[in-house]
Symmetry: D2
């Protein structure tokens, strides 16, 4: 790997995207908290916004380059319940790119208190071409 | 309209599909009832099963014939709350086909009591080719 | 109705909320457009933001006043497909309050072009106390 | 632990629930496959059916015993894409119960071929009382 690519890789890892999300009523369940599958939808929102911040529009990557990101592994650790109408922040960063796999990291934080609500071990994503 | 077509039309209108659905936890909201947008997902399930009963697989209609059904109008009247773990039946029938529009009718009933939980005015669907 | 109530009613009807939403990948279906039940989730987002603009937090209405809004009737007319990553605006306003029923109006517009993507006939909502 | 409890524990671990699910259109995304967060909804369906098979109705556990199961950790490994209208089977079993944590195991299989579509490492669930 050339020195240029290496340093660029380091720079990309320093980029952290923070995207704010307001919890929707439809995302709650009868336990009165956000149903746990919704966190993965939010992490995807964060991932797309991180890519946008890095200069890539995922929509165009799909449409123009035929490049799709398929999730190979999804994991989330739930730290605290998320409630209706809460404002939360998805923090997303690039952990590393190895072989054909991209590893992102995610944290979900409550706006204001900064409380950690959930964190996701780097998902393994494989960009493929159809 | 020929007599044959008319009688076939009558026959299709007599076909009613009944599909049983068990309410999922993810479909409830913090009010303790099924969130109202899920009814439309269930009506679609009923529509696909009605088509299957009539000999059409919607998946193949899309894939092989490039025939897509786009929803032009969706309406639901909610009669009673639907609860977690309830078993419900989607009753679906063909109201009429006019021009390029197919009109389905839907009812949502509670299994056992037969209570009417929701009904949907015929949606207007337009089959299109991509 | 007193003149005061009438004029207040007029004022509330003049309030229009515009809430911007970025379409999520999870909201698309294999036809490549937003699945039609998601529009109702967005209209709810608009309704809550309109209430907030008018000084009411729906979360507190539920929790502190035991006041729940149940949807009695939902309807949407789809004008144009909504695509992944589109930015859309939900325009929400109060149509009228009669008896125990609140009637909202909704429009979904594409940001930039202002194209009308969907509109919802005033839903009938009944505020109830548990 | 008494011998009776131990043998009962072994018996419970031998119970495997198989629940069949037909993929809904709403569960697909524009990549033409099931969106990855839906797997967690299906695993929950499997978990509830396993409990039912063991004699417990989760709905009543919540309502009558005030016993809630909160997901502490969710993980899924995706092996193959799941397509619209596919019939899949969720296989669910009890891995172990330790301290206050219940560990379930899940597999998602395609009906007919038996192909493994996804598997979930035992989630850690904590039953709590409100």
């Amino acid at each position: 790997m050339s020195g240029q690519a290496a340093s660029r890789s380091v720079n990309m890892k320093q980029v952290v995207n923070e995207t704010r999300i307001r919890v929707r009523y439809a995302e709650t369940d009868q336990m009165g908290v956000v149903y746990h599958s919704n966190h993965f939808i939010w992490f995807e929102v964060g991932r797309v916004e991180l890519l946008r911040q890095l200069g890539f529009t995922y929509k165009e990557m799909e449409r123009e380059d035929g490049c799709f990101i398929a999730v190979a592994d999804a994991r989330c650790r739930y730290k605290a319940p998320v409630l209706y109408d809460d404002e939360v922040v998805v923090r997303t960063w690039l952990n590393n790119v190895r072989d054909k796999l991209i590893h992102f990291g995610y944290e979900l934080l409550r706006v204001g208190s900064g409380e950690l609500l959930a964190e996701a071990r780097p998902r393994t994503l494989s960009p493929t071409r159809k």
